[in-house]
């Protein structure tokens, strides 16, 4: 056991767990933040995607010890009200989720794409490349493409206010 200090959704956080424990299970079981989902445990499905220092990362394959001193953002911290990040607004407008289980990961991956500094509006090919690591068994892919385009518009200040 070892204490690990990091920033979680903008606030300091300390956890005392085995150092090999994946961030996913620290979030879900130790801290009770269940918005980040377990899908495969092998970085194959993207359901557990969070941001570490702004980059999309698979929390199932991230040992907690490697997070020390870093800044972690989860779906719970993506926006103040849980609905107002441009990607969340676009997801709401396009009514993307079906079962919804993969959507935290989809949204975190899409948010990293949209928020990438200096990025241009993504093409379908950009979206496919960024999002192909995120599985959806309900088949929301067509809605996701539409919503990422919408999110890019919102980010650029075109529509979708409030």
């Amino acid at each position: 056991m070892a204490a690990v200090k990091f920033t979680l959704n903008g606030k300091p956080q300390t956890v005392d767990v085995v150092p090999q424990m994946p961030l996913l299970w620290v979030l879900r079981d130790t801290l009770g933040m269940t918005g980040t989902k377990f899908g495969c445990g092998m970085q194959l499905c993207g359901a557990c995607t969070v941001h570490i220092d702004g980059q999309p990362r698979r929390s199932c394959g991230t040992q907690i010890s490697s997070v020390a001193g870093k800044s972690v953002t989860t779906i719970e911290g993506l926006s103040a009200d849980g609905l107002s990040h441009p990607v969340q607004k676009a997801w709401l407008e396009a009514d993307v989720p079906q079962c919804g289980y993969c959507q935290s990961g989809q949204i975190m991956t899409a948010a990293a794409l949209i928020d990438k500094p200096g990025s241009r509006p993504p093409t379908d090919a950009d979206i496919d490349e960024s999002m192909r690591g995120n599985l959806c068994r309900c088949g929301t892919y067509q809605s996701i493409r539409r919503a990422v385009h919408l999110a890019a518009q919102y980010k650029a200040g075109k529509g979708g206010a409030a």
């Binding site: 899908g39 849980g82 989720p97 088949g139």
Partner: protein
């Protein structure tokens, strides 16, 4: 227990039963915290429900209108992505004329008042409740009108309703439903209600946003795996990798040395490790040493199962359908086509692996679970704990995908067993490997077809012999699921001689319902074979099908619409080819045209044009979602997904070797809904069957070689 897809005629019979049942409305009164409570019985049509139907009717759907104007709909159908919370609310809200923004939904624990079988399966939720929910809404609305009329001292005919209020048309005075609820609860319920003319619908038929989206994009939605109970331990189970095997002995000394591990208990399905978090439980399981008694299936393989099917297909099986004399017609045919089609076992692999949280106490048991069938979960827990069913509370969580898998109660059984043995609340989580290797699978199937056409290109004979693994009973030697979509082939009325027979065959592999059930493989078989027969007849695949569908206007309608919208027969980009397939399952009809190219041995599906006729549409956007969803679910197994068996166990373990369709492979799916006033059909399972044959028929055009095996193999593209 029945989760099967249901043929149209049975669905229609059921709708008539609903219409003729004037006693569906049963109970009104005050809610526990005031307001108006209206309860209804929504008949179900499963086997258990049929038994229950012999008992006095019970209530299973409620509308509660609170003094604060909130309207709470108690909905007995789990939300697994198919949109039931939204679409069933739309039906109630339409006739009730309530304010959509003030609606809440809740899913109750199964109780006798909810009748026989509480569950969501068979694409039945809308089509079996539509008429009764309309009546429920209207009954409540009439009582609110009556209460307002009494308050104003006017004739109820002078009142109308709008967005959660009764309006006095003479004075424009307005009373909200909430302010009338207590008075309405004292009014005798009307015995005869007439329903809105559909042309006045404001909510049904509209693409209203789903009620569950905000929760699901903010991380707040609670799925089964998100349940948390004070004092709970986290559990995983080591199970015998071979189906039917069991624990011979185990040594947990190394497990107990793993940090955080609290208990190790043996349960019927294996050895459970309990720890202070899921990760530590998984680490503890890795350290466990178990000697397995692998049982009778230890040498089973996919190749042996295939050989068994092949051998059986050489001799006649139990007859599932016989029209005319197919053998004589085949012998007399101008051209005869023989072909064998095969499909493998498949896993459901919903994104949320199986899990269940249970707290067994001497006086009761709580279960938090993502389940499709609450009644099965409750009965399972009651049987293990020996507690009466009313002491078992089922808390229904959101389902991270169902697809038939969550109709099972094996994961409920494990969690309850562990909590009972350990004496603490327990959250059981299956790893992805557990989920994929201990699924209840879509059966593998082997089908041997014969077909004959006469000199004019008319189809005169159709035969099919199916060998497959049954899982839900055999009647007169026939496994109905194994021949669904073949024995009741949609073209049946156009074929004079038909013989379909079946060999239900035990393979030792546990199987269950998988989205669209028998149609999931049989429509691939039949729609590919019909294409072969079109070739033998020298006819265009669409034209050939049209000639068989003269007496089937809804099938013909979707075929014509899909062909027209896809531009069938018109020039395509170089290297692109069209294939078509259609089916009638779950009381709906759909046709798909796939646009496909094959380059360097790789298939690219560019577009699927789908025409769907599912009767009255409650929410077009949700129908469109389900059409896309069904197509994605069928396309992965068409292109690469398969479960294979070696040494009695599943070879595949995770998404690296059972890889579902990904976004970069997603075709454009264009959905065309046929306007209809027919009773609603199902939608969740409608489009899964057609995509594989539509793609395979296009690949045939591209490469000139028939695809008779799923998934499509490299050798089929050479």
């Amino acid at each position: 227990m029945s989760m099967r897809s249901n043929s149209l005629d049975r669905a229609q019979r059921h709708e008539q039963a609903v219409r003729s049942n004037r006693r569906t409305f049963l109970k009104v009164g005050a809610g526990a915290a005031g307001g108006l409570l209206v309860g209804f019985y929504l008949p179900e049509k499963s086997k258990l429900a049929a038994q229950a139907a012999a008992l006095p009717a019970k209530l299973n759907t409620y509308i509660h209108i609170g003094p604060d104007d909130t309207v709470t709909f108690t909905i007995t159908k789990s939300e697994m992505g198919q949109g039931t919370l939204t679409s069933l609310s739309q039906i109630l809200a339409e006739q009730l004329d309530c304010d959509w923004k003030k609606i809440k939904t809740e899913i109750p624990s199964p109780a006798p008042e909810f009748g026989g079988m509480m569950g969501a399966y068979g694409s039945l939720s809308v089509r079996t409740t539509y008429n009764t929910l309309l009546k429920a809404g209207e009954t409540a609305r009439l009582m609110l009108v009556q209460a307002a009329a009494q308050k104003w001292g006017v004739d109820p005919a002078q009142c109308r309703t709008e967005e959660g209020a009764v309006i006095n048309t003479a004075t424009n005075d307005r009373l909200s439903y909430g302010s009338l609820a207590d008075a309405a609860a004292k009014i005798p319920a009307p015995t005869n209600v007439s329903l809105k003319d559909p042309k006045n619908f404001k909510i049904i038929g509209k693409s209203i946003k789903r009620v569950d989206t905000a929760e699901k994009i903010s991380g707040r939605a609670k799925f089964g795996i998100d349940a948390r109970v004070d004092g709970m331990l986290y559990a995983v189970v080591a199970r015998c990798p071979v189906f039917g095997g069991k624990v011979a002995s185990f040594d947990d000394s190394r497990t107990k040395a793993v940090p955080g591990v609290k208990q190790v208990v043996q349960v019927p399905s294996g050895v459970a490790v309990l720890a202070d978090n899921t990760w530590n439980a998984m680490e503890g399981r890795k350290a466990l040493q178990v000697q397995w008694d692998e049982g009778p299936n230890a040498a089973q393989t996919s190749a042996k199962i295939r050989q068994t099917f092949m051998d059986l297909a050489e001799k006649p099986g139990a007859v599932a359908r016989k029209v005319g004399d197919a053998d004589a017609a085949l012998a007399a045919a101008a051209k005869r086509v023989d072909a064998v089609y095969e499909a493998p076992f498949l896993s459901h692999s919903p994104m949320e692996p199986m899990n269940c949280t249970a707290h067994v106490r001497p006086d009761g048991c709580d279960v938090w679970v993502a389940t499709q069938i609450q009644t099965a979960a409750q009965q399972t827990a009651a049987s293990i704990t020996k507690l009466p069913a009313d002491k078992i509370k089922i808390h229904t969580m959101f389902l991270g995908g169902g697809f038939g898998r969550r109709g099972g109660a094996d994961f409920v059984s494990e969690a309850v067993e562990i909590s009972k043995a350990a004496g603490v609340p327990v959250k059981l989580t299956w790893s992805r490997e557990d989920d994929m290797q201990h699924d209840l699978y879509r059966p593998a199937s082997y089908a041997k077809f014969g077909g004959g056409v006469d000199a004019n290109g008319n189809l005169t004979a159709f035969t099919c012999r199916v060998a497959s693994q049954p899982f839900a009973g055999i009647n007169n030697g026939v496994d109905r699921n194994a021949v669904d979509g073949i024995a009741n082939l949609g073209y049946g009325s156009g074929i004079p001689n038909i013989l379909v027979d079946n060999h239900p065959t035990e393979t030792g592999i546990p199987c269950t319902f998988w989205r669209s059930v028998g149609y999931s493989h049989n429509t691939f078989f039949t729609e590919s074979f019909i294409d072969e027969l079109a070739g033998a007849a020298g006819k265009d695949p669409v034209e050939f099908r049209r000639t068989l569908l003269a007496k089937n206007p809804r099938m013909l309608g979707v075929l014509n619409l899909a062909a027209e919208k896809a531009g069938w027969g018109k020039p395509l980009p170089s290297g692109h080819y069209h294939g078509v397939a259609l089916t009638d399952n779950i009381g709906s009809f759909n046709a798909q045209v796939a646009e496909v190219s094959v380059t360097n041995g790789k298939i690219k599906v560019h577009k699927i044009t789908c025409a769907i006729d599912c009767g009255v549409v409650v929410n077009p956007a949700i129908v469109e979602q389900q059409v896309q969803s069904g197509i994605v679910f069928g396309l992965g197994p068409a292109l690469r997904q398969a479960i294979t068996i070696d040494r009695g166990r599943v070879v595949q373990a995770n998404f690296n070797n059972y890889d579902p369709l990904r976004i970069d492979e997603m075709p454009v799916v264009e959905v065309h809904i046929v306007p209809s006033t027919a009773n609603p059909g199902g939608i969740g399972e409608a489009t899964t069957p057609n995509v594989a044959p539509a793609v395979a028929n296009a690949v045939f055009k591209a490469r000139g070689k028939r695809i008779r095996h799923l998934p499509i193999r490299q050798q089929d593209l050479a």
